[in-house]
Amino acid sequence: MNTQDHISQAYNDELEEVRSKVLTMGGLVEDHFQGATKALLKGDTELASDIAKYDYKVNALEVEIDDDCTSLIARRQPTAGDLRNVFAVIKIVTDLERIGDESEKIASFVTELSVDTKSMTIYNSLKSMIKTAREILSAALDCYARLDAKQALEVAKLDEDLDSNFNDLKRTLITYLIEDVKNIEDFIRVMWCARSIERVGDHAKNICQYVVYVAHGNDIRHITDQKD
């Protein structure tokens, strides 16, 4: 479903502007997550402080895009693919804003860590989780940009790997919590960071599901829940 070819060029422009803003917001959120996780791996508190400081930009874009969508619905009464597109945008920006929040949380924990994660035995697992989450997020945004539903379905599946990585890391961390009581606070901070990284995967998966909805009109959310 492209945003073009309407009889009204102004309508084309309005839809295209919203799409472009979502891509800008996606890029910003991706940068923040990249920065926050880089700070976590490197123990870079300065970078972490910067990331935490700039979450307001993401929030402002969410408000602006929601406002644009409200105006589009009121003035244009979009239907069919255009309607799905506008609704998906409203959902996607919520997920993007939450990814921004998770990045902010990670950045805040980094500033509180008293030890470098590099010195922790879970470092490699954490690094691997971060790599997968970055890939999912980047691929999900790519799928939205190209409205590639087929690829979106593949990307959404990667979230299972991330969930499984998180569970492994959680088990390992619990062992350390029991064995090394002195560093309990740092372990908990890292646990929260890992949890945020796992949540980023969930939000990216949601974005993939909205891409399928825009492209084909199928709502594939919670399908496994219904089977259960």
Partner: protein, 276 residues
């Protein structure tokens, strides 16, 4: 979308997509209907669609797509046009309405029509509604006729506004009231189906909302087919929507599906404002 793209999409068009035929609750049915004007100009091509009992079917499409022509076939209004030929079968409760034994005047009482511009007779409000029942001899005495006029005006949502001025001319009412008077006039002859050809296009938004609300109430008693140029109106009021293009029925489906996820690209392009 260019004309070339549109042509390619039309060439791809095979059978109507969606659910043109209903398994149950069918009141009227069109089967492979072709309509010609003067033998050479074909206006409708092989249209098959059912009108579900107590449902509103909205017929939409660009100008010249054949939606009004098909609507007028449903109560044989096209009989009055010289050279108009209707092939195929149109049934009302399983009876072919083009059968020679069918009296078109009686048929038009069973399948009433409301037009774009309100057209009350230059008579009193009472006589406008009583005209049909008198013509068809539907009542035995004046008291029964009074009751029928009241019932029809009540169903048309006009009783309260007109009960104290029944002897005043129908043409003295506002546009929206006149259209409701025409609906009351149609109802008075106890139809089974009501056809509406752009019934609100000459009305302001408030009168339009009143008529739409009335249509919603009326569908408990009647089957309604409405031709409309307002896609929002089709989306608001109808149970099923049929999209016509150049005389062909492209798609007919539940209105929710047509406006959120149409099956055919032409439907999508029309309702999203990509051509019209």
């Amino acid at each position: 979308m260019s004309n070339q793209d549109e042509l390619e999409l039309l060439q791809e068009l095979g059978e109507t997509v969606g659910t043109p035929k209903l398994k149950e609750k069918v009141r009227m049915s069109c089967n492979h209907v072709d309509v010609f004007y003067n033998e050479t100009a074909q206006a409708i091509f092989d249209v098959s669609v059912d009108l579900g009992k107590n449902q509103i079917l909205a017929m939409i499409g660009p100008s010249g797509c054949g939606k009004s022509t098909l609507l007028r076939c449903l109560n044989r209004m096209n009989d009055t046009i010289d050279g108009c030929i209707v092939n195929g079968e149109i049934t009302l409760d399983d009876e072919d309405i083009y059968n020679k034994t069918i009296d078109p005047v009686l048929l038009r009482a069973n399948v009433g029509m409301v037009f774009q511009k309100p057209n009350p007779f230059p008579k009193s409000i009472y006589d406008n509604v009583a005209y049909g029942p008198r013509l068809h001899g539907l009542t035995k005495n004046a008291s029964e006729l009074d009751d029928l006029v009241e019932e029809s005006l009540t169903k048309a949502g006009l009783w309260k506004e007109t009960k104290d001025r029944l002897n005043k001319p129908g043409t003295g009412l506002s546009g929206g009231q006149q259209q409701r008077l025409c609906i009351a006039r149609t109802i008075a002859v106890k139809p089974e189906v009501i056809l509406m050809d752009e019934p609100t296009s000459a009305l302001d938004p408030i009168a339009t909302a009143t008529i739409e609300e009335l249509m919603y109430d009326l569908k408990s008693f009647y089957t309604i087919a409405v031709v409309t140029h307002s896609m929002q109106q089709a989306a608001r009021i109808s149970d099923r929507t049929a999209y016509f293009h150049l005389g062909r029925l492209v798609e007919v489906n539940n209105t929710d599906d047509v406006f959120t996820n149409p099956e055919h690209k032409l439907t999508e392009n029309y309702i999203t404002g990509r051509f019209g």
